[in-house]
């Protein structure tokens, strides 16, 4: 436990890939975690996952005389329809408890997990790109290199989109190893949020990382019906 850690108990929600929720103590202990890998069905599973996670965590939270202090929200990038479910849930949950939402770049959570895995095995982690599915034959990717003094992964590029068949060439250019992520760990989202709170920093925008304008076709003049 970091001695100056001002954060509290964090509920994290991420629906940028599947649906993931977690409750973390301020010392980083995971009190509850739940996830659905299904890349669809976020709206169906979010309520049950939240309910179960809270039920599992509430005993220890209460025993320690604590309560939830923050809701961490994965802001993407990710397919919009699902991504929004988690952000809407995070905001509404926070409103219900009168606590703040801490936005987190979802790729940061994957990056941190990779760094932590490297630290466990004492291996140097070279520059790499977190890659997730963005649908429509595109990937979302963010390049990372190292961890800063606050324990947060350092982004070399902002999250961006790229056609699938161009990714490898681009990563070669950037000298980044490709790390595909099939899911986001909500626990890691919570850890990022906790470290950001501790450092007094905001690491993500408050609005979703859509990275794409809404798909609309401008109307052309009315079609003629007579020849």
């Amino acid at each position: 436990m970091q001695p100056d850690y001002p954060g509290g108990v964090i509920l994290a929600i991420d629906t940028s890939v599947g649906t993931a929720v977690a409750v973390l103590e301020d010392d980083g202990v995971v009190l509850a975690e739940g996830r659905s890998q299904n890349p669809l069905g976020h709206a169906e599973v979010i309520g049950g996952l939240l309910q179960d996670a809270l039920a599992a965590a509430s005993g220890s939270i209460e025993a320690r005389g604590e309560q939830l202090t923050h809701v961490a929200a994965g802001m993407g990038p990710g397919p919009f329809t699902g991504l929004r479910v988690g952000i809407a849930a995070a905001r509404a949950f926070a409103l219900g408890r009168g606590i703040p939402v801490v936005p987190v770049v979802s790729h940061d959570a994957v990056a941190l997990e990779i760094f932590l895995a490297g630290a466990m095995t004492d291996t140097e982690v070279a520059r790499f790109a977190v890659v997730t599915d963005a649908r429509r034959r595109e990937f979302a990717f963010t390049v990372y290199e190292g961890i800063d003094d606050d324990g947060l992964p350092v982004r070399v590029t902002d999250p961006g989109l790229i056609p699938r068949d161009e990714l490898d060439a681009r990563l070669a250019e950037l000298g980044a190893e490709r790390r595909d992520a099939a899911g986001i760990s909500a626990a890691m989202v919570a850890v990022i949020a906790g470290r950001a709170i501790a450092a007094g920093r905001s690491t993500a925008p408050t609005e979703p990382l859509y990275l794409r304008s809404p798909d609309v076709t401008m109307p052309h003049g009315p079609k003629r019906v007579t020849a």
Binding site: E44, G48, L50, F93, P208, P214, P219, K223, V225, T226
Partner: protein, 356 residues
């Protein structure tokens, strides 16, 4: 849970209005609506992704505004209610995600309900109207739906008599407005243009009204043929080098829509021996529709109910009102697993009710 006068917050995100309503029993405390209509104007119709993004932005500020207006705290609520369908799936999911999380956060029961039946429940909140009597026929007309329902009981027995086979009536207004070079949304524009027009000037077709159609589609609607007829008529005018009398076209088109709507609704009343007709949906704002419905209902001896317009357009108060009725009727909350159902049938008044 308070089952006699429940305090319910309703969340509605099925189309382009983010609606948050708060009711206590049958009393309206807040009807807060944030609309993304302006953002759709340049596309000439609702763009689902634009609507869904706007819902996410508007949702929590709208809930906060509604609580302030209603002078209640979240912890005082007896239940949360949300629209499960029908509507735009991506838009519905924003409301569902928020509603589930809010319910878990507060430890309150959640009621997932049907948007169309919600339109009927809106009428209950009208403080100036006498109690809703059953059975009643309900005609719901908006940019998203055109449905004729037989309501025997709001919380347990709603039957779909007919609906549109193609465009919703509101959509037809939008499309014909565009055809005539009028802006979006088309309803008020057509109304304005028709003001100085003669509604008998052009005999536009009444969809699904011929004897042969009536056999199979007595209570169904179709507006795409009408739209094509208007296009053909104006193109022929232009081809002949004659000016298009926009006022007459608008008035005659509107008359054709209104005539079919009112004729079929009153036929349903007559066929089912139900002397009551309830109107709902945003298109009810159309002056001519209200006028013709009032006149012809009176002539037919049918009591007509038109809720205030703020309760006719999509709103969260109607969702809260429907949940409040369900609670008072003894229904259990919904279980967590439901999702957005863009084609939810009207017979499913509540979704995923927990087994008692």
């Amino acid at each position: 849970m308070n089952r006699t006068d429940p305090l319910v917050l309703g969340i509605e995100t099925s189309c382009d209005e983010t609606g948050i309503g708060i009711v206590r029993g049958r009393t309206l405390l807040s009807n807060t609506i944030a609309s993304s209509m302006d953002e759709h104007a340049r596309y000439g119709g609702v763009v689902p992704e634009v609507a869904a993004r706007a819902h996410l932005e508007a949702l929590t500020p709208s809930i906060e505004a509604a609580l302030v207006e209603a002078r209640v705290n979240l912890r005082d609520l007896d239940a949360i209610a949300v629209t499960s369908g029908p509507g735009l799936a991506g838009a519905l999911m924003v409301g569902i995600g928020a509603a589930k999380a809010l319910a878990v956060s507060l430890g309150k029961p959640l009621y997932a309900v049907n948007h169309l039946v919600g339109h009927i429940a809106a009428d209950i909140l009208d403080p100036d109207a006498p109690a809703l009597e059953y059975p009643t026929v309900a005609l719901l007309v908006s940019g998203g739906h055109t449905s004729l329902l037989l309501v025997r009981d709001l919380t347990s027995d709603v039957e779909l008599l007919g609906e549109t086979m193609d465009d919703a009536a509101g959509e037809a207004f939008d499309k014909v407005a565009r055809l005539l070079g009028l802006p979006y949304p088309g309803g008020p524009e057509i109304d304005r243009a028709a003001l100085v027009g003669d509604h008998r000037a052009i005999a536009f077709p009444r969809g699904l009204s011929r004897a042969s159609d009536l056999a199979k589609h007595r209570y169904d609607f179709s507006f795409s043929g009408l739209k094509t007829a208007v296009a053909r008529w104006t193109e022929q005018r232009e081809a002949g080098g004659e000016p298009v009398p926009i006022a007459d076209v608008a008035a005659s088109f509107r008359e054709a829509v209104v005539d079919v709507l009112v004729t079929k609704a009153l036929a349903a009343c007559a066929d089912h021996g139900v002397p009551r007709l309830l109107l709902g949906g945003g298109v009810i704002a159309n002056r001519r529709l209200r006028e013709v419905a009032t006149m012809r209902a009176e002539a037919a001896g049918v009591a007509l109910r038109i809720p205030p317009l703020s309760l006719c357009t999509d709103n969260g108060a109607m969702i809260a009102a429907l949940a409040s009725e369900l609670i008072m009727a003894g229904h259990e909350p919904s279980t967590w697993g439901f999702g957005a159902d863009s084609t939810l049938p009207v017979t499913e008044i509540q979704v995923a009710e927990e087994a008692a």
